[in-house]
Amino acid sequence: MTAALACSHLTVSYDGNVALNGVSLSVGSGQMIGLVGANGAGKSTLVNAVAGWSRGRPAVSGSVTLDGADISALAAHARAQHGLLLVPEGKNIFAELTVDENLGLVRAPRDVAGRHVFSIADVFNLFPRLTERRTYKGGSLSGGERQMLAVGRALLAAPRVLILDEPSAGLAPRLILDLLERIRSLVDRGLPVLLVEQNVKAALKVVDHLYLLERGRIIAGGPTTVMKSDARIVEAYLGTLAVDRA
């Protein structure tokens, strides 16, 4: 069976400086893959390159396939239309549009074969908080509400694969796990998710598979149960206590 999302030998450079060096990974259907690493390891560079998107001017080489189809030549908006939905790090909603208008920007595809379709009611069920904020402008939302809105609009576009770049950034610790568990519930219904996460402890609780990125290369990867006790993960991100508890 082909992977829902796969990239191979992805290399990205900015003005000749290599930020990502020949990275390959894949996300199977119904799988939640975690991508962790230190600041500047190239996590955002990787997922942005997969989505064909950037705020800078990177030079990208390598290939990306979505449900077996090569999408490397498509522009960012076309990849989104084909069901590869990235929720980027930082500013990921429109501040001057209301919640309803933000959600209204998305148009669900006509052909839903192979897509995971979510209705607006599903989104409000998943994030009841948004219901109360429908007429508020994006700029007036709290950090958590913005993440909910950003994920919600991505779901409305009927994703094949959902990529989340640090959805927990700026969230209170008790909200992080809550958000990740809600997303896990979508994975359990079949939606493949690639999750970039700073908070390794929280990520380990929800993902099936974990990759460790360092200086633009994947240096370790495997099932969560194995990675939990991987020396590099333990030393750098968990400390010994976490292993004991696990």
């Binding site: 998107w53 076309a78 989104a80 980027p88 501040a95």
Partner: protein, 284 residues
């Protein structure tokens, strides 16, 4: 000079200003783009309309349609050439590029249409209405009515439709819009084409009031800038109000103070406003 006639004159002038400024208001305020060729596009539209009527014998309404089509195509070409600068939001370069293209249009216009002044004659412009002591033409009525209709339609489109949200989203953050599956380049193209179509319509409506010259360019639409800045950049209602208010001011200033210095007076108002209130009249 009677007072009510000046009010009528003010409405006539002001609706003309607002009508010409509509395209710019959308372009600048909604999509955050600039087009310094606006004046030359106005000139070109007036001449295309004139050419279609006098040389091709088209009726007035058909000439308007021809002008809109020609200007839309030209706008599409301009925007395609500028796509990279637009996506990078390089406003400084866009200003200079459109200024250069405007100069090309001015030179090209003179080559095609010659250097003589022409009159764009519309039947409505020749039919005067005398209502007691007041007089105006049916063309003036048409301009006023069309201006209100157009502003209302554009306001509804921008604020009440999905396409309106898409345009505002692209204006706020073109890159992020791409992740929403929005083709930002296409949206910019659409907005720019709309600007050109709007200026074509405005020129066909307003230009019959005075002789047209290929060199009129910017100076003919200098009031557009005053209207857009006075109205609070990008506020659709603000631009309409500013246009009408400016028309009143000019009518009264021209009648009672000095007709030769109306532009200077309008500019004086703008300067005063910039010192007192740099964001414009409208508040968000």
């Amino acid at each position: 000079m009677n007072l009510s006639q000046q009010i009528v004159n003010g409405l006539v002038l002001g609706s003309g200003y607002a009508c010409i400024a509509l395209g710019w208001t959308i372009l600048l305020g909604v999509a955050r783009l600039v087009n310094f060729a606006h004046g030359q596009l106005y000139m070109l539209s007036a001449f295309v309309t004139w050419y279609a009527m006098t040389r091709a014998g088209a009726p007035y309404w058909a000439a308007i349609v021809i002008a809109i089509v020609v200007l839309s195509l030209l706008g599409a070409l301009m925007q395609l050439a500028m796509t990279r600068l637009v996506i990078e939001q390089n406003l400084t370069s866009l200003m200079i590029v459109t200024l250069g293209l405007g100069y090309v249009i001015q030179g090209g216009g003179a080559l095609i249409f010659g250097g003589n002044p022409q009159t764009l004659s519309s039947v409505l412009a020749r039919t005067k209405v005398d209502a007691g002591a007041l007089w105006f033409t049916w063309q003036d009525v048409l301009v006023l009515a069309m201006t209100f209709v157009l502003y209302a339609a554009v306001w509804l489109f921008v604020n009440r439709t999905r396409f309106g949200s898409v345009i505002r989203a692209v204006a706020e953050d073109p890159r992020l819009a791409q992740l929403f599956g929005i083709n930002a380049k296409l949206v910019y193209l659409g907005v720019f084409v709309f600007e050109c179509a709007a200026v074509a319509l405005a020129a066909a409506l307003v230009a019959p009031r005075a002789p047209i010259l290929t060199s009129m360019g910017f100076n003919e639409v200098i009031m557009t800038f005053v209207v857009v800045v006075l109205g609070g950049i990008g506020s659709i209602g603000g631009a309409l109000l500013a246009g009408l208010g400016l028309g009143m001011f000019i009518a009264f200033f021209g009648a009672f103070v000095a007709p030769a210095y109306t532009t200077a007076a309008a500019f004086g108002m703008l300067l005063l406003l910039l010192v007192v209130r740099p964001v414009g009249l409208a508040t968000k």
